[in-house]
Structure formats: C-alpha cells, structure tokens
C-alpha cells in the first residue's frame, strides 16, 4: 500500500465533516463521498487527469452511510484506488459496506449516544445547574466520542482496505451501544422524577405530571404530536377566553 501524505489524510478527515452537504434523493451522499475522496484521488491520479475524472464519476454514484463512520468507506476506497483495484470490485465493496456502516452508526450514535448525552444535559438543567454547564457538558461529552469515531473510522479504512469488515466486527461498537443504552435508561428515570417533582408542591399538579409521564410511556413515538395538539388546543382556548372575557388573575 502506498501511504498517503499527512496533508491528504487530514484533508480526507476534514472533508468527512462536509459529506452530507449536498444530500439529495438521487445519489444520497454519493456526491459528498466523491467530494471527500478528491484529495486522495488527486494524489493517486496526479499525472492522469482522465483517470481522475473516471474515478470521480464512479465514486459520485449512489452511496449512503452514517456520517461519522463514512471514513471507513472513504479510507478503504482511497487505499484500494491507490492499489489499482478493479473498478467492479470497488463497486461491490462499497455496496457491501453501505448498509453495515449505516446500521452501526444509527444504533450507536442516533439511538443511544445522542439521546443519552441529551438526557445528561436535561438532567443537569433539572437539578439546577447553570445553563452554560449543561450546554458545555453536552457538547464536550458528545463530541469526544463523535470525533474519536470519525478519526478511528478513517484510520481503519486506510489501514485495512478490503479487510475492513473484520476490523468493524472486532471493534467494540456493539458493546458500547449496550453500555450507553444502560446509562441512558438510568438517566431517563432520573430526569423523569425531577420533571414530575417540578410540578409540585400541590398533589393535584404532581398527579397531573405523573399521569402525563404514564401517557408518554403509552404513546411512545406518538408523544410529540399528541403533546403539540394538546398544547395548541389549550393555548387557543386560553386566548379565546382571554379575548372574550379578559384575563383572569
């Protein structure tokens, strides 16, 4: 394997931050993937502009991945291009990677890490921490894993090439997902008690808040829409009453 210069590796990493910039219903992140790969392709095909354009065209096709793990694909493809790998094999390799990178990232990041860290921020606000502490804790804790994943993904892709599947299977992403999920479940209970307690001290208010929590458990993903409807109707009634009768004390 020809190693890429450090400036090319940095360019790849930084460009992964922009990969979803042209997300569209045609190529999904295909165009962005080609954008990320360009520094590596320019390096590989620096004396062959036609080959560069041909490589660009094949890597602008439909592609999708979790944005934090796309470095696995980008690094591996960059290495395979440098090794002169057959274009058809490259295409099959990308197709095989697509769904696994998406699923891994969705499970670890969107379904576990992000909500768990958001609950940390919510919990800090509910215990009375300053707003800036909640925001700083959210951003620092969340992005510690975020940036580690991006860097790790690109390094794994560049190092392993076609064998990247083995590296993904060996990585502790699944165990981390479960650990984060357990922490998240604890944080849900913690925040729920504090939120209900905020309704106090009147017993009726506490009962209403507790009832709302139970309703949320029952409604699950429909909760935001139901909440929106209830709040809107209540608001409209309050405005109409105020408009016709004047504000109550």
């Amino acid at each position: 394997m020809r190693a890429f210069p450090r400036r090319v590796r940095w360019a790849l990493l930084l460009r992964t931050l922009l990969i979803q910039g042209s997300w569209n219903f045609g190529t999904l992140i295909g165009t962005g993937f080609a954008f990320v790969l360009l520094p590596a392709l320019r390096h590989v095909y620096r004396s062959d502009p036609e080959a560069l354009e041909a490589a660009l065209a094949r890597h602008s096709a439909v592609f999708n991945s979790h944005p934090y793990l796309v470095g696995v694909a980008a690094g591996a493809v960059a290495r395979l291009e440098a090794d002169g790998t057959d274009a058809a094999l490259l295409g099959r390799f990308k197709d095989a990677l697509r769904s696994s990178l998406g699923a891994l990232g969705d499970q670890l990041v969107w379904s576990a890490w992000r909500p768990a860290v958001a609950l940390l921020a919510i919990g800090l606000l509910l215990v009375g921490a300053p707003w800036w502490l909640s925001v700083a804790a959210f951003l620092l804790v969340y992005n510690a894993l975020h940036l580690w994943i991006r860097t790790w993904a690109l390094n794994v892709g560049l190092a392993e090439g076609l064998q990247v599947g083995q590296a993904l299977r060996a990585a502790p992403l699944q165990p981390w997902t479960h650990r984060v999920g357990r922490v998240g479940a604890v944080l849900v209970g913690f925040c729920l008690v504090l939120a209900v307690a905020d309704a106090g001290p009147r017993p009726v208010a506490l009962l209403v808040a507790a009832g709302a929590a139970v309703l949320g458990v029952a409604l699950a993903q429909r909760t935001p829409v139901v909440v929106w409807v209830v709040l809107t109707v209540a608001w409209a009634v309050g405005i109409l009453i105020g408009a016709f009768r004047g504000p109550l004390s």
Partner: protein
C-alpha cells in the same frame, strides 16, 4: 419585539450555522434544541429563558431518530427562532407556551424546507450526463449546496423570529387563564416526553435501570 437589528442579524447568522450543523456540516450537535435555544437566548441577553425553552423542546426531540431518508422535523433553526423571540419578549409561562407551540410548528416547516432543498440538490449535485464531471465542478456544486442550506436556515430563523415576536406582542397578552396552567401544561409535556423515552433504550433490565435512575432522582430531591 426584537428592537435591535444587530441582534436579529446575529440570530439569523447563528440560525444558518445551526441549520448547517443539523446535516450538512459537522453535526457537532449545536443544532440540538437545548444547545441552540440556550445560545440563542444568550445572544439576546437572556440565556436562562432560552434554556428553559430548549429543555422542553429537547425532551420532545429525544424520540426523533434521523434514520435513513426519513422525513423528520428540523429542530435547530426553530429552536433558535423561538428562543430568540421568547428571550426578547421577557419571561412568562404563557409566553413560553406560545414559543413552544410555535417552535413545534416551525420545526415542521423547517423539515419541509429540507425536503425541498434535497430535491434542489438533485439538480445541483448531479450535473447533466453530457457534462464531464470535473473535480472543480463537483467541489463548487457541493459547496454551493452547503451555502444554500445556510441561507435556507437563516431565512427560516429570520422569519420565525419576526412572526413569533408579533405573536408574543399582539396575541399572547390576551391569554386568559393565568400563569399556573401553562406552567403545568409545559411540565406535563416534559414529563410525557421523558416517559416516552423509557421505550428508547431497549436494554435487558431496562425497567430496573429506570428505577435506579428514579431512586437517584429521589435522593437529589431529598437533599435539595
């Protein structure tokens, strides 16, 4: 009303940045409601108000998972617009209720604008077949799509701030049911959202973990 044009400009620029953070650039979670609303409130000079709005919106957004090409509401710019207008209007439970409702509506509009942008990106990011795909052309088109997303977010926030400011000034003062009811409604919304999150983490012994967390919460209340 937001009287200061500079503040409005700062909010629209911040809103554009937040719109980018949602998908196009980085995804560092500046676009999360608790972050975006707090910082928007800080821009206006009332971060605690922004954070209180962000708290409710964040809880409502915990169940929104951006998996695949699913259409979902866009929380970030809506949080900036609502927090900016609410923070400038001054605290009040009825005003906060209005801001939350508006934010939830504006998120849907934001989400619809994202869908339109993605359709536009099909024309922008995939040039006609007869054009050779040069590296420079690809980079320019990709970056142009990012610029469009920024402008989209900025316009969304600017319009949102102005509309909600009008509502808070002209309509919300008509609220006729006191301050306790909107406060209770919002706490109910927060509790319901957190209750919904009990289904989010599908772990073994999830109910035991929930109870452990609840016990920690009770301990905090005991010592508070």
């Amino acid at each position: 009303m937001i009287a200061d044009p500079l503040t409005l400009l700062l909010l629209t620029v911040f809103g554009g940045w937040v719109a980018l953070d949602g998908t196009s650039v980085g995804q560092f979670m500046l676009s999360r409601p608790v972050v975006a609303a707090s910082l928007a409130g800080w821009i206006v000079g009332a971060p605690v108000q922004g954070a209180s709005l962000g708290l409710v919106l964040e809880a409502l957004h915990l169940m929104v998972l951006p998996v695949g090409a699913a259409r979902h509401p866009e929380a970030g710019p809506a949080a900036v617009a609502s927090a900016g207008a609410y923070a400038a209007a001054g605290p009040g439970a009825a005003a906060l209720l209005t801001a939350v409702i508006f934010a939830l509506l504006w998120e849907r509009i934001g989400g619809a604008s994202v869908q339109q942008l993605r359709k536009l990106n099909m024309a922008l990011a995939t040039p006609p077949a007869q054009d050779a795909l040069s590296p420079r052309l690809l980079e320019r088109r990709h970056l142009a799509a990012i610029l469009l997303d920024f402008l989209r977010g900025s316009v969304l926030v600017g319009c949102g701030v102005l509309i909600l400011s009008f509502l808070l000034t002209a309509v919300t003062p008509m609220w006729g049911l006191g301050e306790e009811l909107p406060r209770l409604l919002l706490i109910g919304a927060l509790a319901a959202s957190l209750g919904a999150c009990s289904r989010l983490f599908q772990e073994r012994r999830a109910s035991q973990l929930l109870l452990a967390g609840a016990a920690c919460g009770l301990l905090v209340l005991f010592f508070r």
